[in-house]
Symmetry: D2
Subunit: 232 residues, 4 copies
Amino acid sequence: MVKVLGINGSPRPYGNSFQTLKLALRAAELEGAEVELVNLYEFEIKPCLGCVSDNVKACVYPCPINDDMVKLYPKVIECDGLIISSPIYWFGVSGLLKNFLDRLTVLENMIYVDGRSWLDGKVVGFIAVGSDEGAIALISNLMAVTNSFGMVIPPWALAYYVGEGSALEDSKLLLDSANVGRIVTLMAQVLKGLRKPPTVWYRADDYYRKLIHDIATEIRSNVEYELGITPP
Amino acid sequence: MVKVLGINGSPRPYGNSFQTLKLALRAAELEGAEVELVNLYEFEIKPCLGCVSDNVKACVYPCPINDDMVKLYPKVIECDGLIISSPIYWFGVSGLLKNFLDRLTVLENMIYVDGRSWLDGKVVGFIAVGSDEGAIALISNLMAVTNSFGMVIPPWALAYYVGEGSALEDSKLLLDSANVGRIVTLMAQVLKGLRKPPTVWYRADDYYRKLIHDIATEIRSNVEYELGITPP
Amino acid sequence: MVKVLGINGSPRPYGNSFQTLKLALRAAELEGAEVELVNLYEFEIKPCLGCVSDNVKACVYPCPINDDMVKLYPKVIECDGLIISSPIYWFGVSGLLKNFLDRLTVLENMIYVDGRSWLDGKVVGFIAVGSDEGAIALISNLMAVTNSFGMVIPPWALAYYVGEGSALEDSKLLLDSANVGRIVTLMAQVLKGLRKPPTVWYRADDYYRKLIHDIATEIRSNVEYELGITPP
Amino acid sequence: MVKVLGINGSPRPYGNSFQTLKLALRAAELEGAEVELVNLYEFEIKPCLGCVSDNVKACVYPCPINDDMVKLYPKVIECDGLIISSPIYWFGVSGLLKNFLDRLTVLENMIYVDGRSWLDGKVVGFIAVGSDEGAIALISNLMAVTNSFGMVIPPWALAYYVGEGSALEDSKLLLDSANVGRIVTLMAQVLKGLRKPPTVWYRADDYYRKLIHDIATEIRSNVEYELGITPP
């Protein structure tokens, strides 16, 4: 069994970042992953203090800052795959997500204690959604960051949508984000020796398109229900 | 008279981001600017809530979030030039600075109220310092962001240093950061009709090098004194 | 009088990059600029040889490579404003345009001969058009490059469009690209002492919108005519 | 057996990009790969014509442009791993390499013919070397591009060096670039079912450091010999 953790970096409940991430995680479940979705806005995450500037060994796990990261670190440590969903805020991730990412440095820095990054070999995928441009600038940065953490970026690990309205109405985004969930799971399974590499990574057949479309419809309907009883 | 505001995005008192910014502001003063240095870590700055996703007019000044940005907005509104100094955190700005920048959206969005961004025509310069690479990735992003706010990027508006130790020992950084302060000031003066454009923007003559070197020595000496009485 | 040079980095005659650049140049003319449009595909531009790695003074004007850059350098040297229009090729500029930009290093490097970059103080604006994402990644890079050349980036110096079909049918792109042409011209005039800074840089009034729309219609109609008699 | 192809994007024979790539390929051989190094400057590679703008199916293999890419496509198609080494030219790849990358679009676009990118599942690593900053901006872009081609980015797939002098004198670069070669090979072997995933991807033990150091010394000595008999 592989565990896939979804990180929602948007401050907004039930918005496009959440919905698209939800779809990716549903697609991960279809491949046999155990999944969990974390809304960062539900946690207090203070900015990194940059202790590493004084001494690289001052920045190791556990991080000296006392906040809700204490609840999030174990989830990251235990996952085999990570899917990061960010709204596009001025051509980059939200400040909320930036603080989370900066704070992961303690896990990478375990290389100075254990000879091994605690993120080494985990698989990662990316979702970026916004009303203005910048998805590739955002995702390019996340790729360099997570790969420097020691993470694996499997094929087609990126899904993005730039525009107004509901992202899940865009058929390309639907398929791309489902494949992010699917491919992160498959790669994590391969790297744990649980399965052979697939012949084709990106799935785009009609049966799959229909399946994903139906799941997306269900997600949107649930979100509308939630928003109905939980006014924004 | 022009006002130049320096924003220190580092969480660390008296570090390289602070020292380099201090130098840039001293160079701005030499050209006649009134300057102020703000350490973001002294203020509580909550993450942007992305209200703009609901309605562009929900994101206008004053921002509905209740925190210390109420003290910072007037400083940004009143300045003619802005110098942003960031540590390089995973190839980007600190989360602290990202939150500050995201929260400036309300000023840019005044275009929907007044027909004019409240940042339109202000001049901006950039400093990035870190122990690992990523300065250009960071500054490229800030250039696109601030230009989209409506700000002017004058010639040679970037100074960066990647390495260990004291940034102010690097002679190229010294001259580059002093010129950021100088050039932001000159451009702000030109755009206010206070002076003619200079013949040469970047100043690198021996007299200026010596002057900047002496100021840098004084800044480092003051920092050592402060750190002596305020242990890190 | 100021001269504004438009560089079309697309290999395609009469495509979106060309049309959008044409519109920006027409808007520049409205403000009194003398304009010229260069299609890079009409010139042989060999890749930079990186002589600067041996010796910084080996990379000064005139560039030792013998090709059509000899016709383009004088145009760049004489212009007061430059507008770079690039198609989005894999989240960056075309290889054609990259070669052109790399070859401009000799002008910047005159700083080692004259104490002054030959691009110092020129004004620059950017247009990026493509069918897939990456406009901001592309423009962010160009901003850092041209600012490192010593060029001025005036407010709102970026216009971009991501999508299929004719870019000039997008009303936001129309207004943004016209303003790139307008604002590059105004800033060049200010920096030559030919006029005072404008009160508002970005023009969006109804009269201007109508005017730009009409010019765009004329450009598209001319392009259709050209494509009719000059099959692609 | 896996094949690893090294692409040298520098126009300069025997320079830092070449030497570092050579080291990565030697490290790949140590893990059992069959390797080949291609100097792009030995081939005529014309700029992409952007046919995809007219019709996505106009951009499929074989590319209609008649030049030396006809010799390079088979090498790319047959490799299991690809290592791209670029000099840092204005915060991005060389124009030479940009043309090569743009021209690979026909392979990715086979998705419209075969339902599968011809680059799907190949493994890729990156080397960037230059005298000025920009390595991360360059590599971030290449990561987004190659992942959009369908390629796998294994852990720690990036090595970079910014500075003057011989890159191979920098011990961090040595180890990082050897690991790029090593890890690209291991991942390609895992994905072909030739071996199990390694426990630790990045190797930094003393024995390996010594081995890599010795290989680097040999490479530098060979280069000096070549430069002696082939004046630059």
